[in-house]
């Protein structure tokens, strides 16, 4: 460990530890994963906090996200400008929220944003159709998809305005005992 230059300053590591659910070792491991995605782009010295973004195509080629039908939405939700290109902060944030120690409310908040495809702070019928299509790889007929969306709105929409707000969504999540274990990416 002698001559190897430090990736982060001491203060940076402390800040990351305090603001995410990871330990020092896990943060370093995540950094090296991030660096592996684009070795030419990402410098090995982050003490000066360079402004580096890894493009979405490389992020979505990660084995943890490669086969996830929602990988585009995940990258969009956690990226700086909503375009899927992620800085190291976004990367750490994403895996911190998807780790097993994140509380239910935090996960529910981000899950809501992921399933809100048109970013209008409500999950409307169109958002639901997109979700169901992605979940079933397009193998349900259009009629079945719209039936499912109708049933979901019937069940979850408490104030009958035709779409789900964050409160409605959190109410659904409370009733699902295994949400914490399914909304979890292991890295």
């Amino acid at each position: 460990m002698g001559n190897k230059p430090a990736v982060f300053t001491h203060e940076q590591l402390e800040a990351y530890q305090d603001c995410t659910f990871f330990t020092r070792k896990e943060i370093m491991r995540l950094f090296y994963r991030y660096q592996d995605l684009a070795p030419q782009l990402v410098p090995l010295d982050y003490t000066s906090s360079p402004d580096v973004k890894v493009p979405y195509e490389l992020i979505s080629s990660m084995p943890e996200l490669k086969d996830n039908p929602f990988r585009q939405r995940i990258a969009q939700v956690f990226s700086e400008d909503g375009d899927g290109h992620m800085t190291l902060n976004n990367f750490l944030d994403m895996f911190s929220v998807m780790s097993e120690m994140a509380p239910r409310d935090l996960k529910a908040y981000y899950a809501f944003k992921i399933y809100d495809f048109n970013d209008d702070d409500y999950i409307c019928a169109w958002d639901l159709e997109q979700t169901v299509t992605k979940l079933t790889r397009g193998e349900l007929s259009a009629e079945e998809v719209s039936l499912v969306c109708e049933k979901v709105l019937d069940e979850a929409d408490a104030d009958h305005d035709g779409r789900l707000s964050l409160d409605d969504f959190q109410h659904v999540i409370l009733r699902a005992p295994d949400f914490l274990s399914t909304f979890h990416i292991r890295i």
Binding site: P63, K66, N90, D120, L135, V148, D159, L166, Q170
Partner: protein, 813 residues
């Protein structure tokens, strides 16, 4: 994240507004007109095809509305954009419910509230409790004052100030849970650190108070990691994870529930076997009794009949000694007690046998009841009878799946699950006439009569055959004749369900779940009645018939034979039944194709096998080991046959409550019956006098009584144990008291649940009413602004009118 827009909220009051509509102060008028107004508004909305979808605003200016509106129209869908005025839209965009996700300011104020509450209470708020108040209160959006006072920077400084008042651990906890980006969290943290006046160097933060809280948090984190590591290790130990996933993806959750139930039974048997191995079998194997006179040689028939060589092994009750083991006595002086020599640990075998049997049954009972109540609690929640579609759509995708093939399996799984849900819902739609219903009931009654008649016939056949076996005892050379009774029982158990399935084709049930439950019920009645007759045959008739011989060994061997025959018949049925069916259907090229996996019959077979194990464990302590081997082989055979010969259920149905039903069936008829059999055998039946650990006693329970009397003589130090025995176990009053208390607790719980359900209904109604109010107010607001707009346009037109008066002069030219 986008920059939050600056919201300007002006209510312009013009004199034309007053007096047109009933004001909220005229309460009596308002009550009547509300309903009317709501109806009018909803009618108008329906006519114009209005849905409450407002364009998301990126900037408040009216000139950019058109651009953003057209930009988002493609995303929103084919419905027409509601024609709200820009002022209405501005107000809607600043609604508290709308600003949660978008505005950082809203999040900051929300967490400001939380930290204030935290500081006042001085302890960590429960996360679940605070989550309910996610919407910032209207107080923060002061409608009368200038809203620029509560700009984002103000909220931020307020939050930073509050964060400084917390301890380090609480601050970290709060920061981690905030739904802000990491960069913002870091800057918040830095600001709260620098302004707090503490030293920023590493020495300052190693002060006493932060050190302790940091240590405490580190301990908590370490324990948490340890628990997680243990859990993941346990998960790695559970076998067949991929096989189960494969089965679930290809055949649906209903077929998967059978295999999960098999896994549960494996766990129960392992739990039962461990104390038996440790306290009975192991000890007796270490201290074998004096060998019997003539031990027969091993022939292959023992594997089927369980007799012969196996009779003189740890496998059966008769092998166990009735003395205290490892007690090396000197010759007794004057008939006094035997004193153990140094180094020996005396082990009272009869007592150990009795207590271990009782303890393992007790542990099994507790585990069964616990798992039944837990699966019941997971499948039924108060007030949420619906919600399964929403949960399937939002919570069922497992983000841990990282490879292509498992991911596709999961998508297939979810697709099948959604199809099952839709199928169940559609089946509830069709109405029926009275005549059709009567006919249905008549057919149902007739089929039930036939099935019960079949059951009675089978029972009589078993009884007659068992009496025949008593009348013609089997000699030692023709041991294979002992297999006759198990053979008859297995044949009846095999044939009758096919008959029931044929009869069930006559009736037509609405839901496939009901069909399965009815089939399970009929098969269960058959099996339990046959087992009941056999129990009477053993404890009632065989004990008398086998006087002078070791009847417990005989009963143990009978149960062994039953288990082996059951296993053989299951294998034959699986291999031939499904295989032959597949060949037949392939040859005939029928539309029906491969056979379906009959879940009811297979589950009943598992429960039957487990009942046999529980019945026989008193007389043959190694029976659970046999059952474990049998279940392992059965898993692979069934899986192989399923993949090769069967297809997914024709009418997909939901299996969410099946595991609860299976465990309940395991508990109530199966375990309860075995426990009753055990209690009767221990308390009422006289053990045989030539073999086993209770050979000199009147009942098996007397071993315990003997020990208690021994304790009474031992001295005053252990007098509490005989006291407990005399006043709590042998006296009946405590039992009545405990039962009455239990009944009272159950009744109270039922009332509490009823009350909770009522409260949930009321709250749901309230939310729905609030939603209607909201729609009404928005439409009212829109009409107010529209009216103003129209009047403004009207006034502008009036102002233009005089210049057009001389137009007729122009026309005249």
């Amino acid at each position: 994240m986008a920059q939050p827009p600056a919201f300007v909220f002006n209510i312009l009051e013009t004199p034309e507004d007053q007096g047109q509509d009933p004001s909220p102060y005229d309460e009596s008028e308002v009550h009547d007109s509300f309903h009317q107004l709501i109806q009018e508004q909803s009618q108008r909305a329906a006519e114009e095809g209005l849905e409450l979808r407002v364009l998301p605003q990126r900037e408040p200016g009216p000139e950019t509305l058109g651009a953003s509106g057209s930009g988002h129209q493609a995303l929103l869908g084919p419905e027409g954009v509601p024609d709200y005025s820009t002022a209405t839209l501005r107000i809607l965009a600043s609604m508290p419910s709308r600003t949660i996700g978008r505005s950082r300011g809203a999040i900051l104020s929300q967490y400001y509230n939380r930290t204030v509450r935290l500081r006042r209470r001085g302890s960590r708020p429960p996360l679940g409790g605070v989550g309910r108040s996610a919407r910032p209160s209207l107080r923060l959006y002061d409608l009368e004052l200038d809203p620029t006072a509560f700009q984002e920077e103000e909220k931020r400084t307020l939050l930073v100030k509050e964060l400084q008042g917390l301890t380090v651990a609480q601050r970290d906890h709060m920061l981690r849970g905030m739904p802000l980006s990491l960069a913002e969290k870091r800057s918040l943290r830095e600001e709260s650190w620098t302004q707090s006046g503490k030293q920023r160097g590493p020495q300052g933060r190693r002060g006493l108070l932060p050190c302790c809280s940091r240590l405490r948090y580190a301990c908590g984190l370490a324990l948490h990691s340890l628990g997680l590591a243990l859990l993941s290790a346990l998960q790695a130990l559970t076998p067949w994870r991929y096989a189960l996933k494969q089965i679930g993806g290809q055949f649906g959750s209903s077929v998967l529930s059978y295999f999960l139930f098999l896994k549960t039974l494996l766990a129960f048997n392992a739990l039962l076997l461990l104390p038996l191995l440790a306290f009975i079998v192991g000890v007796q194997a270490a201290f074998p009794p004096a060998p019997a006179d003539s031990v027969p040689t091993f022939t292959g028939l023992e594997l089927l009949t369980g007799g012969g060589r196996f009779s003189h092994s740890v496998m059966y009750y008769g092998y166990y000694s009735n003395t205290t083991l490892n007690q090396l006595c000197g010759p007794p002086l004057d008939g006094s007690q035997c004193t153990p020599e140094a180094g020996g640990l005396p082990y009272n075998m009869p007592l150990a046998y009795l207590f271990t049997m009782g303890m393992s049954f007790f542990i099994t009972c507790i585990t069964l009841v616990y798992s039944m109540s837990r699966s019941f609690g997971e499948s039924y929640r108060v007030g949420s009878t619906s919600g399964v579609h929403a949960i399937t759509v939002f919570c069922s995708w497992d983000y841990k799946v990282t490879q292509k093939w498992p991911s596709r399996l999961q998508q297939d799984n979810i697709r099948t699950q959604l199809k099952e849900l839709l199928a169940e819902w559609q089946l509830q739609q069709g109405p029926r006439s009275v005549w059709g219903r009567l006919r249905q009931v008549a057919i149902l009654g007739f089929v039930w009569l036939l099935c019960l008649g079949t059951t009675l016939g089978c029972t009589l056949a078993v009884y007659a055959f068992s009496e025949l076996m008593i009348k013609n005892p089997v000699s030692a050379e023709r041991e294979w004749e002992l297999l006759a009774l198990p053979l008859v029982v297995c044949l009846l158990n095999l044939g009758a369900p096919y008959l029931y399935r044929g009869l069930a084709a006559l009736e037509r049930h609405d839901s496939p779940i009901l069909e399965v439950y009815v089939a399970i019920c009929r098969n269960l009645i058959l099996k339990m009645v046959i087992l009941g007759i056999l129990c009477y045959h053993w404890l009632g008739r065989r004990v008398g018939a086998l006087k002078g011989q070791c009847w417990e060994n005989f009963v143990g061997q009978e149960l062994y034979r039953l288990m082996v025959m059951d296993f053989v018949f299951t294998l034959l049925d699986t291999l031939f039944g499904e295989l032959v069916w597949r060949f037949i259907s392939e040859k005939q090229r029928k539309k029906r194709g491969k056979p379906e996996f009959d879940i009811a019959r297979n589950v009943l077979e598992l429960i039957y096998g487990q009942t046999l194990t529980w019945l026989g464990v008193l007389f043959s302590p190694l029976l659970p080991a046999m059952q474990i081997v049998k279940l392992l082989v059965l898993f692979y055979v069934k899986k192989m046959s399923l993949m090769a010969n069967c297809r997914a259920p024709r009418r997909p149905w939901l299996a969410s409550h099946m595991s609860t039903v299976f465990v309940s069936l395991l508990c109530f008829p199966s375990f309860l019956g075995a426990a009753i059999f055990l209690c009767y055998a221990i308390w009422q039946v006289r053990p045989s006098s030539i073999c086993g650990p209770f050979r000199t006693l009147d009942t098996m329970y007397e071993a315990g009584k003997v020990w208690v009397r021994h304790l009474e003589k031992a001295g005053p130090r252990v007098s509490w144990l005989p006291w407990i025995h005399r006043y709590l176990v042998e006296n009946t009053f405590p039992i009545y008291l405990v039962s009455a208390l239990l009944l009272a607790v159950i009744y109270l719980n039922i009332q509490v649940v009823k009350g909770q359900r009522k409260v949930i209904c009321l709250l749901k109604e309230q939310i729905s009413n609030e939603g209607e109010d909201k729609i009404f107010l928005i439409n009212k607001l829109h009409s107010v602004y529209e009216g103003k707009e129209r009047s403004r346009v009207g006034r502008a037109q009036e102002a233009e009118m005089p210049p057009t008066l001389p137009a007729d002069e122009r026309d005249a030219r």
